[in-house]
Amino acid sequence: MTNAIKELILKMADDALIFGHRNSEWTGIGPTLEEDIAFSSMAQDKIGHAWALYGILNQHLGDKEPDTLAFDRKASDYKCCQMVTFFTWDYAFALVRHFLFDHAEYLRYSSLANSSYQPLAQLAKKITGEIKYHILHADTWMQSLANGSEESQARLQSALNEVFPLAAGIFEKGPFENKLIEQGIFIGEEALRNNWIEKTKDLIQSMGLQIPDIEQNSEAPGGRYGHHSEFLQPLLDEMSEVFLSEPGASW
């Protein structure tokens, strides 16, 4: 059972860490000062979620120190979905990814608040409120740009067409899926994906945007099994540079 819980927590932690790092790349260069601060602050929240999840692995499940887990692993040992690894300087891409990913995060953590694994249930209860703000932020921007100019609508739609297929990777099933469901630890990726489709489909349609074909875009590319895009390694090199310059040092 321990392996199943570890696998679930590790992929969630890696999602939060890599997504947080990617979004922090907008710090200082966000579209406006206020948006820069909001986006950076949410990126920091994600790093906090990752830290808390690695902390559960370390304290309750006998894994390594959080910093070691975060900074000192091979790329193929990271179990994040591929979507969060993609590098972009297109704010429309960053925004749509934030919208699709954080709605999945909200549903995931809301359901985990009822998990039979107490450390995870407690953490989920604590941070669901933070993610609630993240989806409010995403929804407000999406709504605003969808109602904006022809250009903003077109850029939003094209980003949606690009990012939507990647989102299938969020819900890639892990090797211990049935065990986790049976034990009441997690509702499972399939149930989560159904909830997510229901939620995002309504929102996207209410914004007047076209939703890409869901069935055609259901293939998961293997991030949960350590298969990653060419974007992950450079990110890890940059993120770990300071830590690996003196492993084990306290900062």
Binding site: E25, G28, I29, T32, L33, E34, E35, I37, A38, S41, M42, W89, Y133, L136, H137, T140, W141, S144, E238
Partner: protein, 129 residues
């Protein structure tokens, strides 16, 4: 133009600057919104600052991260700066005599001595216990 921060270099700002100069000024100025922050239920909302945003909803979203993330907060208000009615500083002479109107201040009541005396008694009692 090169920066010590690799993120800045990746952005290729100089090229973007040249491309963007034609669009300068278009949609650049969002209205200002005043932000009010409530630390506890029942307390007054206090003015804490200003955000720029395209509309009120977005102003609220921005206000939360600008002013709500480093202190306890249960609620926030935003109001468009241009919707606030204020006096003009030219009319500051209307307030000039205020410091002289001592007769309007709630001081000099005899009751105060009684209250002080009572408080002292209470303190003494508490000390004895």
């Amino acid at each position: 133009m090169s920066s010590l921060d690799p993120r800045i270099n990746r952005l290729d700002l100089l090229r973007q600057e040249q491309n963007a100069s034609a669009d300068r000024g278009k949609n650049e100025n969002w209205p200002a919104f005043e932000v009010f922050h409530q630390a506890k239920r029942g307390q007054h909302h206090k003015h804490v600052g200003t955000v720029h945003a395209p509309d009120a909803q977005m102003a609220l979203v921005f206000a939360k991260e600008q002013f709500g993330r480093r202190q306890t907060c249960v609620n926030m208000w935003v109001v468009k700066t241009s919707d606030i009615i204020s006096f003009s500083y030219n009319d500051v002479d209307m307030f000039e005599t205020t410091p002289g109107k001592l007769h309007r201040e709630a001081t000099g009541y005899k009751l105060r001595d009684k209250v002080e005396k009572y408080k002292q008694q209470q303190r003494k009692k508490a000390d004895k216990k």
